[in-house]
Amino acid sequence: MGLLSQQYDDGNIVLTSVEGVLNWARLCSLWQMSFGLACCAIEMMAASASHNDIMRFGVLPRPSPRQCDVMIVAGTVTLKMATRVKRLYEQMAEPRYVVSMGSCSNCGGPYWEHGYHVLKGVDRVVPVDVYIPGCPPRPEALLEGWMRLQEKVRDFTIVKEK
């Protein structure tokens, strides 16, 4: 998909500054897919409501996966839902990120042992960038996870490692 998928051998000053600006643009404008699964979705809504206001970070919830950068997997992923989650991820446009919010989507959470219909971790179907622990994580934890994701985007480079 153009510049971001390429690798350059030498990181000269022009390349690194362009890269810096592009990374800055991406991290400042991470649009979130408004997509909630379970209990964590309520905390995700609380994070975008007035008290916590995740939109301070430049987040804009978009309903269509095509226009989103980040998928927050907020809640328990069941086996019936897992294929849909994967499909939604595939519908998103690159560069895309996945935040796994809450114990359930990290590893199955309280349903890890007897939950015959629960996927034990969403990372079994889609690659995850940031894991947020908690059952459910507080909105503050989501904000922290968001900043970690921004760090990750900031450190992205198209210069080949030596």
Partner: protein, 386 residues
């Protein structure tokens, strides 16, 4: 306004308007399905011909867990069913086990339970009202509702340390005593909260467009509601005067003076979306009244843990206990075989039952109405799928 639709319907019925049906798949990821419900809509233009709901996208095997866990270990799982009304879920489960064990809980515990359950009811209704507003396209009331809900969560948090899922009401007692200044916090909240209802009324509930969108839409007649087993605001919106807190009293609800809010069809037909919505708005005020009365006679001191049994092994037997959740009748059917684990715990979730009526009341409406109807049913998928 519906006469335009009638003209359309007549045209289709008489065959003058040739149409073809279209199947639209709504969900599991869709902004207005309140989670992961999937509706297969058979549409004729924009008119809904048939709805095939399919759920289970959040089936978290609650009943299997209940069989594998000991009685106290089940409590956190009840939280996660109807995650907007965790306190009420806890309450119902605790009642079921207590009745099977035959234990009485101290007075103070009962008071705290009732106050917590009613606060939770307000919090849950706030979410319902806010998201319903969002479904009909008004985004701002949603944020006002969430803002006020945070004050309730703050009280819960000070008491038990959790914001959403509390594991607070235990079999025989509570996990923690209330924090210092609990009564003051709650009274403060009630005082702060009442103006919000007026605000939401002005902004949303009596808005002309909102009434146009919700009145005469999704009319649920009382006999259909009863046959489908609907409960809670869904049933009361249809004009049936039925509230388990009064009609099948549990805990100490019989000590308070409050009204059961019933829909009256003021803006449209009895049992339409607006009625269901306004029942919720009215119930928040009634909950405030219950809380105020409970605070007046609140026992100042007492051990909240004195009735918690050391070992919970109910005798062989079975019981069906029901409580009034914000969404309706939450029933626990508990079978004990005398061991430390429930033998079978079946949950009758109000959302599950209320949702079953969607096909019946949405036929012939437009897609936009379907979204409003779904919002007015106020489902929580955690409880539909369990």
């Amino acid at each position: 306004m519906t006469e335009n639709l009638d003209v359309l319907r007549q045209g289709i019925a008489s065959g003058r308007l040739k149409t073809d049906e279209l199947v639209l798949n709504m969900g599991p990821q869709h902004p207005s399905t309140h989670g992961v419900l999937r509706l297969e809509l058979v549409l004729d233009g924009e008119i809904v011909v048939k709805i095939i709901p399919s759920m289970g996208y959040l089936h978290r095997c609650f009943e299997k867990h209940a069989e594998a866990m000991t009685y106290p270990q089940v409590v956190p799982y009840t939280d996660r069913m109807d995650y907007l009304a965790a306190m009420n879920n806890n309450h119902g489960y605790a009642l079921a086990v207590e009745r099977l064990l035959g234990i009485e809980v101290p007075e103070r515990v009962e008071y705290i339970r009732v106050i917590m359950a009613e606060l939770q009811r307000i919090a849950s209704h706030l979410v319902a009202i806010g998201t319903f507003g969002m479904d009909v396209g008004a985004f701002t009331p949603f944020l006002y509702c969430f803002r006020d809900r945070e004050y309730i969560l703050d009280i819960f948090e000070r008491t038990c340390g959790a914001r959403l899922l509390y594991n607070y009401i235990w079999v025989g007692g509570l996990s923690h005593d209330v924090h210092d200044g609990f009564e003051r916090d709650v009274a403060d909240f009630i005082r702060k909260f009442r103006p919000t209802v007026t605000e939401v009324n002005n902004l949303l509930n009596y808005n002309k467009i909102f009434i146009e969108r919700t009145a005469h839409v999704g009319v649920l007649p009382a006999d259909v509601a009863v046959s489908y087993g609907c409960s809670g605001p869904m049933l009361r919106g249809s004009g049936v005067d039925w509230d388990l807190r009064r009609d099948d009293p549990y805990s100490i609800y019989d000590r308070f003076d409050w009204n059961v809010i019933v829909g009256d069809g003021a803006a449209g037909t009895l049992g339409d979306c607006w009625d269901r919505h306004m029942v919720r708005v009215g119930e928040m005020e009634e909950s405030c009244r219950i809380i105020e009365q409970a605070l007046e006679s609140f026992p100042a001191a007492g051990d909240i843990a004195e009735a918690i049994p050391k070992r919970i092994r109910p005798p062989k037997g079975e019981i069906y206990t029901r409580v009034e959740n914000p969404r309706g009748e939450l029933g626990y059917y508990l079978i004990s075989d005398g061991s430390a684990n429930p033998f079978r715990l079946k949950v009758r979730g109000p959302s599950f039952v209320n949702l079953s009526v969607i096909d019946e009341i949405s036929r012939g409406h437009l897609i936009a109405d379907l979204v409003a109807i779904l919002g007015s049913i106020d489902i929580v998928l955690g409880e539909v799928d369990r």
